[in-house]
């Protein structure tokens, strides 16, 4: 039996690491990896909370929805990165500084 707080601690550490990647990365794809880490940390928290009432399973259903949203989000993100690359010939976030396509 894994204590809830220990799972939450792992989730918190993962979230902070993902946030750090999101804030420091220049490459758009690497920044999205940070977002994926943060989403996984949130999912870990959902599973940890689900353990308090294992027969209800609401937390696990929420986690499935989060995984689905993450996949959809990354599909759109990949499309945006490709279109960014076609416009600027680079995926560095600080070089894409104009709104005109």
């Amino acid at each position: 039996m894994i204590p809830t707080t220990h799972l939450l601690a792992v989730g918190a550490a993962m979230f902070v690491l993902g946030l750090f990647a999101l804030l420091t990365r220049r490459n758009a794809v690497a920044a999205f990896m940070g977002i994926e880490l943060m989403l996984n940390a949130a999912n870990l928290n959902f599973v940890a909370f689900n353990q308090a009432r294992p027969e209800a399973l609401d937390g696990q259903v929420a986690a499935v929805f989060v995984i689905m949203l993450a996949a959809a989000e990354f599909a759109v993100a990949l499309a945006l990165v490709l279109s960014l690359y076609q416009t600027f010939r680079s995926v560095h976030l600080d070089e894409a500084d104009e709104m005109k396509g």
């Binding site: 946030l19 986690a63 499935v64 759109v76």
Partner: protein
């Protein structure tokens, strides 16, 4: 210390080390493979929490889908030999301060709030999750399928090369 808890400690150390590697490596391809390791580790953590269906979904969608997409994203954008694989960190100090503050807030919340103790895990979950999807969570489930359709069309519309006939 039960075997489950020992496995949990080992796997969480693995997940955190892999995440740290994703965050610190300067090569975006290596970061993608580090993310692969971290996501697999999270799937094992789900198994240890007796969330079997969620572990299968994690492996299928994250490891099999999202990670492949990430590697595609790297390959389709950066060219080898251009030196563009380097991930130079900028605004390092503000990011460190922000992460420290948020980490402290999360740790304080973890420390202060009386979290409910974990109950006994109740058998396989897949059948009951499916039942919940078709009863209590029917509306979010249908909205999610519509969202996936929208994403499918939107991603193609955004990513395709614009063809102008003149």
């Amino acid at each position: 210390m039960t075997p489950t808890y020992a496995a949990f400690m080992a796997m969480s150390a693995w997940v955190l080390l892999a995440s740290l590697y994703v965050v610190t490596t300067r090569n975006v391809v290596r970061a993608a493979y580090g993310l692969l390791g971290a996501l697999f580790g999270v799937a094992v953590l789900y198994v240890l929490c007796s969330a079997d269906f969620l572990a299968a979904v994690q492996v299928l969608i994250y490891v099999g889908g999202v990670n492949i997409l990430i590697i595609f994203g790297v390959m389709l954008t950066e060219h080898m030999g251009r030196g563009a694989y380097r991930l130079v960190s900028f605004n390092l100090l503000p990011a460190l301060v922000t992460c420290l503050l948020i980490g402290t807030a999360l740790a304080l919340g973890l420390w202060i709030y009386p979290w409910a103790a974990a109950g006994e895990p109740a058998g396989p979950t897949a059948a009951r999750i499916g039942e919940l999807f078709l009863t209590k969570y029917l509306l979010p489930f249908e909205v999610a399928s519509v969202l996936l359709l929208v994403v499918l069309i939107g991603a193609v519309a955004v990513a395709r090369k614009e063809v102008r006939d003149e």
